[in-house]
């Protein structure tokens, strides 16, 4: 196990290193780094000083190592717009994005699991067909457009929910959260649902496929033959077995939920990391772009690592195969 762990850790570090090279090349080599890293408002003297300070007169590999060294110390430059360390900006916005992503994941399981279960148990019924058609729609609907339509219906026409922003927040553990206040929750409802739509469809399809497969298994037949109540068969025997793939996929999807929150945050003016990166791209605030890309790549690698390790604990075959 420890050998496997070590190998996986080294792999993750290598991927992170590769991504740092890609981001470095993207920002420093493709564009003009002077244009990219120095504020366009800077005067000549400031420019010269910044070029020397950033080491832009040195060879490329030397620049890369100083970039890497700074990155390891958590220094990814200062935002032109906010004049704050870029990484700090990202960290400030992270709670908003995280609570949105977790809220969406929670909604996806809460809605998708029962619907998928129903569709799997009565695959030929009208209800199941409607659910499956709905899930195709959930895959096909462009997220941003659904978000706009949600605003139009619930905020503009019905006036039930606030259209944008985060609402009241409470400070817990030094970070501001809005899911702990009623006002914050009402602000969160629409963005979370919007972000969850795709996952709901995914969970429905996974659950349905799982149920249909599991219902044909011998142990289910045996449980039936034993005379167990259908409720118990479905609730215990079937449910337990479909949960493994669903949990895995939902866990893996967490990263992509965070990445896709870019869209939802832009629609609902939700002040998270996603809105920050879009604003930064639009005003060419490159240090923030670099900081966002590096931190989200890091997060991805960590999530993938955790999922892989959990897998090897749950399923010994994975571990043995890699030997």
């Amino acid at each position: 196990m420890s050998v496997y762990l070590l190998r996986r850790l080294i792999q993750a570090a290598l991927v992170m290193l590769a991504m740092s090279v890609i981001v470095f090349i993207g920002v420093y080599a493709i564009g003009d780094p002077v244009e990219i890293l120095i504020s366009p408002d800077a005067d000549q003297a400031e420019r010269a000083r910044a070029i020397a300070a950033l080491g832009l007169d040195k060879p490329l590999w030397e620049q890369y190592f100083s970039f890497l060294g700074n990155a390891l110390r958590g220094d990814l430059g200062r935002s032109f717009v906010f004049n704050e360390p870029a990484l700090q900006l990202i960290a400030q916005r992270a709670p908003a994005t995280l609570e949105l992503a977790f809220g969406a994941t929670f909604l996806a399981v809460l809605v998708g699991l029962p619907l998928g279960l129903y569709a799997g148990l009565r695959p030929n019924g009208v209800g199941a067909k409607t659910i499956m058609a709905g899930s195709i729609l959930g895959f096909s609907l462009p997220t941003f457009w659904v978000g706009l339509m949600l605003i139009m219906v619930f905020a503009v026409q019905l006036g039930w929910l606030p259209s944008t922003g985060r609402g009241e927040t409470v400070e817990v553990l030094g970070m501001r959260w809005s899911f702990l206040t009623w006002n914050g929750l009402t602000h969160m409802a629409m963005p979370a649902l919007n972000l969850a739509l795709f996952k709901i469809s995914l969970v429905i399809r996974l659950t349905r496929a799982g149920v249909r497969e599991t219902m044909l298994m011998d142990y289910v037949k045996f449980a039936r033959a034993k005379g167990l109540a259908p409720k118990r068969i479905i609730g215990v025997h079937v449910f337990k077995n479909i949960l493994i793939p669903v949990v895995t996929v939902v866990g893996l999807e967490l990263g992509s939920t965070i990445a896709f929150s870019v869209v939802t945050e832009s629609v609902f003016a939700w002040p998270g990391m996603g809105k920050l990166i879009i604003d930064s791209i639009n005003v060419l605030d490159r240090p923030v772009i670099v900081a966002y890309l590096m931190s989200i790549v890091f997060m991805f690698i960590v999530i993938n690592l955790i999922v892989d390790l959990l897998y090897s604990v749950l399923d010994p075959r994975v571990r043995l195969e890699s030997k």
Binding site: P142, W145, L148, M152, V156, A259, V262, V263, I281, I296
Partner: protein, 308 residues
């Protein structure tokens, strides 16, 4: 289609129609009314996009034709001089939404299909190379594919647009980079199975050049899954382009695609002017759903495991 297959030979005894693979494919595809309907809808959309300049009431990109006084008119209202009826309303610049949608469809389809074709070429070549060369080449290519697929599409696209800047061409590049891996993985998987078949062995025994074996023998047999992936990927590319344009990273404001038309309506939504965002979204939705339905059914038809 009858041009590519032999027409049924009229004989005295009513012989059963000659079954060619293409004809079997068509009849199997026609089994699903939903898929056929979706195909018809999609073809209609393509025709509308192609003939947009002929059938649209207005050229939405010609600023001289736009009258700012007609801005934000409700669906069905007449233009100031009474020459045009805006069936789907107008946007803030007085652009007829119906014409805007027709022209927007062109950009969306061209960007979506164009990037899908280039990505298919790149991905299929690399996948084929990985399968045929094996060894280290295979490892390197497939590692790259794994890396690409472990990041969500929107993140890769954002990364590329952050490096290259905004613009249609850059969106196309981003879409290609995002998509190639799906093709590579699909083609490699199929090619690995196909290359062990007897016909490849036979071709090798005939000492045919490798290039000929790959392109004339291996590739055609890898086509079915490739076509399925391509269909789904075109829909995904169109959706992603719309999303990127909505975020303000795609096409320029003077020639809006569907995504940008929707984005333009965003600020007017709050004052109840729904049509600017609503109708382009419906057009986008119909396009994506129809492609997905066709792709979904193609997968069933072309999947050998489901063959009766």
């Amino acid at each position: 289609m009858s041009a590519t297959t032999a027409p049924p030979v009229p004989t005295e005894t009513k012989a059963p129609r000659v079954e060619t693979p293409l004809r079997r494919f068509i009849s199997e595809f026609a089994e699903s009314k939903m898929a056929v309907g979706a195909l018809i809808v999609f073809l209609a959309i393509v025709l509308i996009a192609i003939f947009a300049p002929l059938i649209s009431p207005q050229n939405p990109y010609d600023l001289a034709q736009l009258d700012i006084m007609d801005g934000r008119l409700e669906p069905g209202s007449k233009s100031g001089d009474g020459s045009i009826t805006y069936w789907l309303g107008t946007d803030d610049q007085g652009r007829d939404m119906l014409s805007g949608i027709m022209y927007g469809l062109r950009i969306s389809l061209v960007v979506g299909a164009g990037s899908a074709i280039v990505a298919a070429l790149v991905g299929a070549s690399l996948g084929m190379l990985a399968a045929y060369a094996g060894g280290r080449t295979d490892t390197v290519i497939m590692r790259l594919v794994d890396l690409q697929l472990s990041f969500p599409t929107i993140l890769s696209a954002l990364m590329i647009l952050a490096f290259l800047g905004k613009g249609v061409m850059n969106v196309v590049i981003a879409l290609i980079v995002v998509e190639w891996a799906y093709y590579a993985r699909t083609v490699r998987g199929t090619a690995l199975v196909e290359r062990r078949r007897e016909y490849i062995e036979a071709a090798q025994c005939l000492a045919l050049p490798t290039r000929r074996i790959i392109f004339r023998h291996l590739l055609p047999n890898c086509m079915p899954p490739l076509i399925v992936v391509a269909t789904i990927q075109i829909a995904r590319a169109i959706a992603l382009e719309a999303t990127l344009s909505f975020l303000g990273l795609g096409v320029p404001i003077t020639e809006p695609s569907l995504g940008l038309l929707i984005a333009n309506g965003y600020e007017y939504m709050l004052s109840g002017k729904y049509w600017i965002s609503f109708y382009p979204g419906i057009a986008l939705l119909i396009t994506i759903v129809s492609i997905n339905l066709v792709g979904d059914h193609l997968r069933d038809v072309l999947n050998p495991r489901l063959k009766k």
